[in-house]
């Protein structure tokens, strides 16, 4: 008997407890049905996409994917050709490569800049540090839409539009408020005594930062990196505005496929799954950091 049931048994006469248990069980049925419905709605659409991506175009067009699952052993309906087609003929492989090329620096650069800034704001004394921090917190909320037009005009004037560089810098700028805010929260909570004793040992600020603060901040850096990586990987708006569609990345390519071939489901399902592979791997392998990063990142502007 667990503590909780023991406590209940003491508090209440056993007859009432038994009646309560029956009542709870009956009351539990709607709750269980509700959870069941939610789970079905939250998983079945994705399963349908995944199943369909392995079916031949004819099979997809003629029967629902659930029929395919019910007649699983009709082997002729299953194929990998959709992936071959979407990866090469429809350029998804190229898009995948481009997405990585945009996403990795767009994650490393802002987190580096933010870590330096957060360290300075948290532990170095200089006039204006509070104002800088208040401004950063305010900027967390500014919608991305407020920045797009003027930056695009500058990009066009200097011919940076459509370049990797332009994308990294844009994602750096847009990711910085959150990165700095998150890392500040973490770095400022490092015990003062650790930094003071390092200082007393003659460590320069650079050494304290690279050998002490950075290693200690790994959990926060990991959480933010995952958030920023996924945000950039999944981003459509910044890519459409600053990168264009001439060179594909996964989101713009998939959106284009929807626009040009909205009914060719064998292409769309496989294409959608290609764009989802990286986020899903991260989700399943780094779930704890993933959840933490998503929570912290939910305020991004």
């Amino acid at each position: 008997m667990s503590d909780a049931t023991l406590k209940k048994a003491i508090v209440k006469p056993s007859g009432v407890a038994g009646e309560n248990r029956t009542r709870a069980l009956i009351a539990g049925i709607p709750a269980r049905l509700f959870i069941l419905a939610i789970i079905v709605i939250w998983t079945v659409p994705t399963v349908g996409l995944l199943v369909s991506s392995f079916r031949t175009p004819q099979a997809i067009a003629n029967t629902g994917w659930w029929n395919g699952l019910a007649r699983f052993t009709e082997w002729s309906q299953w194929t990998l050709a959709n992936y071959e087609r979407v990866l090469f003929a429809d350029q998804m492989a190229n898009a995948f490569f481009n997405s990585l090329l945009i996403t990795i620096p767009s994650t490393v650069i802002p987190i580096t800049i933010a870590a330096f800034a957060a360290y300075a704001i948290a532990w170095m004394v200089f006039p204006g540090r509070k104002i800088v921090f208040v401004i950063i917190v305010g900027l967390l909320i500014v919608p991305l839409q407020m920045a797009l037009i003027p930056v695009l005009r500058v990009y066009t004037r200097h011919d940076i539009n459509g370049t990797y560089l332009g994308m990294w810098l844009a994602h750096t700028g847009f990711g910085l408020p959150l990165a700095t805010y998150m890392l500040y929260g973490y770095i400022s909570s490092i015990p003062k005594s650790i930094l003071e004793s390092a200082h007393a040992d003659g460590a320069t600020p650079w050494m304290m930062f690279t050998r002490l603060v950075l290693p200690l901040s790994i959990p926060a850096i990991a959480s933010f990196s995952i958030f920023q990586f996924l945000w950039v990987w999944n981003d459509l708006l910044v890519a459409l505005v600053f990168f264009g569609t001439r060179r594909p990345i996964v989101t713009t390519r998939l959106a284009e496929l929807v626009g040009s071939r909205g009914q060719t489901w064998h292409v769309l399902t496989a294409g959608a799954f290609v764009t989802m592979v990286v986020p899903l791997i991260i989700f399943f392998s780094l779930q704890r950091y993933f959840v933490r990063g998503m929570m912290a990142g939910s305020v991004k502007g």
Partner: protein, 366 residues
């Protein structure tokens, strides 16, 4: 720590030597970044070489920049160095924020009073048009419904799930929560494709491969082109957002629900409150702060997200929203004035949130 410091001091003992090294490093860094900048601006095909240069310049460049400035600052005596260094550390962040957010935001406000090219001042004309044009009024109405429905439903569902799965065994709870949280990993574009497939439509007689029409026709009805049915198609789009955000609400609220003291719940039970009443009278009031945070966070997100409407309908069939219309005005029609005005409207709506954030931070003592 001190050993290393001594070592470094020994190697770069002479100030002249240090200065030369610092200048060489700085010049090399600037050359690397500048050269990489030009190279990457001019090369527009993604070969492996580009990728390599890109990664070296992008990732290495930023570190080299900080390092070389640090070496430069180290030329000065520690007292002066410690005055310079904070600015070295903060400057890149401030510069990037200034160029990518602060300046453009101010500029956008200015542009919202200008014509489509951003040349001529036309006063409030863009706003007048937005608030009187029939198509735009539908855009505003839809956005309002999105903001009203998506956060509240996602939060309510998330809370219900959190409370219910809290009774299950820890393993079951973990699995169920993972499944509901999973959509958070998927891009809005990917999620939209998933749901387009659910809403897929074939004229009557054809095989219905979309789940929704399959169920609908199995019940004896004619198939429906769901995404074209005004105004109800808006709800189908909003549902995608709910599907994506319920997991977020659930995770945050689940932590809050677990924080409700057992004593309070037991006391309510002894007083004869059933599950439902103790939920509304104890749990909800106890975690209302968290609920409010979740709600505002999703409101904020819903306002900005344009991807779902873009992929599902491109805003056709009366489903446009401000965020999508802003994109279309500014970057498809190239009407910078009207696009800016729409951005400003989004911004004005979130200002109370901004004020709350800054106030909350001041209060917390920082």
């Amino acid at each position: 720590m001190s050993g290393v410091a001594v070592q470094q001091a020994g190697f770069f003992d002479k100030p002249a030597m240090k200065a030369v090294v610092a200048v060489v490093i700085l010049v090399a860094t600037v050359a690397l970044i500048g050269g990489g900048f030009v190279f990457l601006r001019d090369v527009r095909t993604a070969g492996l070489l580009t990728a390599l240069v890109a990664l070296v310049v992008g990732v290495g460049g930023i570190w080299a920049l900080f390092y070389s400035f640090n070496v430069l600052a180290d030329l000065f005596p520690p007292a002066i160095r410690d005055k310079i260094l904070p600015y070295v550390f903060v400057f890149p962040a401030v510069a990037a924020l200034g160029f990518y957010i602060v300046w453009p935001a101010v500029n956008t406000i200015g542009l919202s009073f200008m014509d489509r090219f951003g040349n001529e001042f036309i006063g409030l004309e863009n706003y007048r048009f937005i608030f009187t044009n029939e198509a735009f009024l539908i855009v505003l109405r839809n956005t309002f419904v999105w903001v009203l429905l998506a956060p509240t439903v996602a939060t309510a569902l998330g809370l219900l799930v959190a409370v219910i799965v809290d009774r299950f065994s820890p393993l079951t709870e973990k699995i169920l929560k993972s499944l509901i949280f999973l959509p958070m990993a998927i891009s809005f574009v990917g999620a939209s494709v998933i749901w387009r497939f659910v809403y897929a439509y074939q004229p009557a007689g054809g095989p219905q491969i979309g789940v929704l029409n399959a169920i609908h026709t199995a019940l004896g009805n004619d198939p429906v082109a769901w995404l074209t049915i005004r105004p109800w198609n808006n709800f189908l789009l909003i549902f995608i957002m709910i599907w994506l955000q319920t997991g977020f609400a659930m995770v945050i609220l689940s932590a809050a629900v677990k924080g409700v003291p057992k004593d309070l719940l037991d006391a309510a039970r002894i007083d004869g409150a059933g599950e439902v009443r103790s939920f509304f009278n104890v749990t909800v009031p106890y975690i209302q702060g968290t609920i409010l945070t979740v709600l505002t966070t999703i409101v904020f997100l819903v306002l900005k997200i344009f991807d779902v409407a873009y992929v599902m309908t491109s805003g056709q069939f009366g489903t446009n929203i401000i965020a999508l219309r802003m994109y279309q005005e500014a970057f498809v029609q190239r009407n910078f004035g009207r696009g800016s005005a729409l951005a400003v409207i989004l911004f004005v709506v979130v200002i109370p949130l901004l004020v709350r954030n800054v106030r909350g931070m001041r209060k917390s003592g920082d």
